[in-house]
């Protein structure tokens, strides 16, 4: 049973065609990892799923229901779809606990006591039980991102979207965030993850989706996509991210400019 399904999705930013006829289906409990070069439309796809961006064409079907952004209450959809951002976007004027209980209390009207209880359990789960009273600015990037994950989980979403959750982190902090995500995947959460962490994709993903210039070019099991990519664009991209700058034609180096000058 697919939890979320995308049909012929098209999104334009002015004249820029950011998503081109995207079709996608993610089953309940599945972990889909989206990879692709910067600007290929990965964030836009994710943001169309919770309607932070409204696609001009196509359908988003959540739990069997076609979402109409003009008629449906998107806030109801968004309660069920958690999102984790590259830059965490914690609320800086609230401490960790307040960040987490804000939406359950204000949106879902969960009694404060119960929301706090759940928040503490979530903080324990992401390994930050001792940071309840801390303000976001007092936390490392890795800690902030784990709080952000807890904040999203506090709404009991059925789908979690991660948009490059570790890209803004110092290398030594990446692991702690990926560990939380891996645990979440193990618990059966349905997840769509945009990331450049190929190790995570290999290990955790049920499916890898490669995007290029607004299209899904290739998708399949990680072993297949990584070891035997069918499309040349996928091969080019993978050789670039896995082996440093390979046959990338858009790769700028000072040496290249120097010799051509």
């Amino acid at each position: 049973m697919s939890l979320v399904k995308v049909r012929n999705l098209n999104k334009w930013f002015g004249r820029l065609h950011a998503l081109k006829d995207v079709n996608l289906e993610v089953r309940e409990g599945e972990v889909a990892v989206v990879i692709g070069a910067s600007g290929s439309g990965k964030s836009t796809l994710l943001r169309c799923l919770n309607f932070l961006e409204v696609p001009e064409q196509g359908q988003v079907i959540f739990d069997g229901k076609v979402i109409d952004p003009r008629r449906d209450d998107l806030n109801l959809l968004r309660r069920e779809v958690g999102m984790v951002f590259q830059h965490f976007n914690l609320f800086p004027h609230m401490n960790v606990l307040e960040n987490i209980i804000e939406a359950p209390v204000m949106v879902k009207k969960v009694p404060r006591e119960k929301a706090i209880e759940e928040a503490l359990a979530l903080l324990h789960k992401v390994g930050l039980a001792d940071k309840v009273d801390a303000y976001p600015c007092q936390l490392s990037g890795g800690q902030q991102q784990r709080v952000a994950i807890a904040r999203a989980l506090a709404m009991h979403p059925r789908l979690m979207l991660f948009d490059e959750p570790t890209s803004a982190l110092d290398p030594e902090l990446v692991g702690e965030v990926l560990a939380v995500m891996k645990q979440l995947a193990g618990e059966g959460m349905t997840m769509i993850v945009v990331t450049h962490e190929m190790g995570f994709a290999r290990e955790v993903a049920d499916r890898v989706i490669f995007m290029d210039e607004g299209r899904i070019v290739e998708e399949g099991e990680p072993a297949q996509v990584f070891s035997r990519p069918q499309k040349s664009r996928t091969r080019d991209f993978l050789s670039r991210v896995l082996w440093g700058s390979g046959p990338a034609q858009d790769c700028w180096t000072p040496a290249a400019t120097a010799t051509s000058a």
Binding site: N50, L52, N75, L76, R78, R79, V81, G82, M83, F85, H87, N89, L90, F91, P92, H93, E102, A103, M106, V107, K108, Y135, C137, A148, R151, A152, M155
Partner: protein, 216 residues
């Protein structure tokens, strides 16, 4: 010395007048804040209709002198509804400062990272709830300095209310100056009272700013 004599003997008059100035300014700026917030929200609205109204208001108010606005309300509107001098002055000052405060609020709101609104919306919060709980509390902290500045301008501009017969600081000094034939002395004294109010207010704003800085 005349000056010291006038300064001391006029204390009861000026204290009462200063109270009127403070009351007028506080009333006007409180209303101005509400007007400013409403028009700031209109100005950042997705609807062109609201943005147009806000633009028109801000352009008209900033493009015309306060004294003209004050007379228009006191003499002009008096033919329809008579607000009296206090409310005429308060409304004129509120409408006038509201335009500037709207721009201050708009700037404050727009200075908050877009990710904040997106995070709030992604959690299922409505636009209004996200504004109230997430964006505005952060924006308010940032606008304290420019808002304090606008309040000081508003306080001094309240002196124009003297021209619609208000017995506030400037009105009282005009009266005393002419009855005692001592313009230099009484206008200097009035200036000192304004200065004292502004210095006191600046001190309070600085303290508030420091407290907000410690909090964050």
């Amino acid at each position: 010395m005349d000056f010291l004599h006038y300064l001391v003997t006029s204390i009861p008059f000026f204290i009462r007048a200063a109270a009127v100035t403070v009351e007028l300014t506080a009333t006007a700026l409180a209303m101005g804040m509400v007007i400013g917030l409403v028009f700031a929200l209109m100005k950042i609205s997705g609807r062109r209709f609201w943005r147009c109204i806000a633009d028109t208001y801000i352009t008209v108010i900033r493009g015309t002198p306060l004294i003209v606005q004050l007379f228009a309300i006191y003499f002009g509107l008096a033919t329809i509804v008579d607000f009296g001098s206090f409310w005429s002055a308060a409304i004129a000052l509120a409408v006038h400062n509201g335009a500037y405060i709207a721009e201050i609020f708009r700037g404050g709101i727009q200075s908050i990272d877009r990710g904040q609104m997106e995070a709030a919306r992604s959690l299922g919060m409505s636009y209004g709830l996200a504004m109230r709980r997430i964006i505005l509390p952060q924006a308010f902290k940032r606008v304290v300095p420019p808002l304090g500045n606008q309040f000081i301008i508003g306080l001094k501009d309240s002196s124009l209310a003297a021209f619609v017969t208000m017995k506030e600081l400037f009105g009282v000094s005009m009266q005393l100056a002419s009855t005692h034939f001592a313009e230099l002395q009484f206008y200097t004294i009035a200036g000192l009272y304004y200065l004292a109010l502004v210095v006191l207010f600046t001190f309070l704003v600085n303290r508030l700013e420091r407290r907000l800085k410690i909090e964050s």
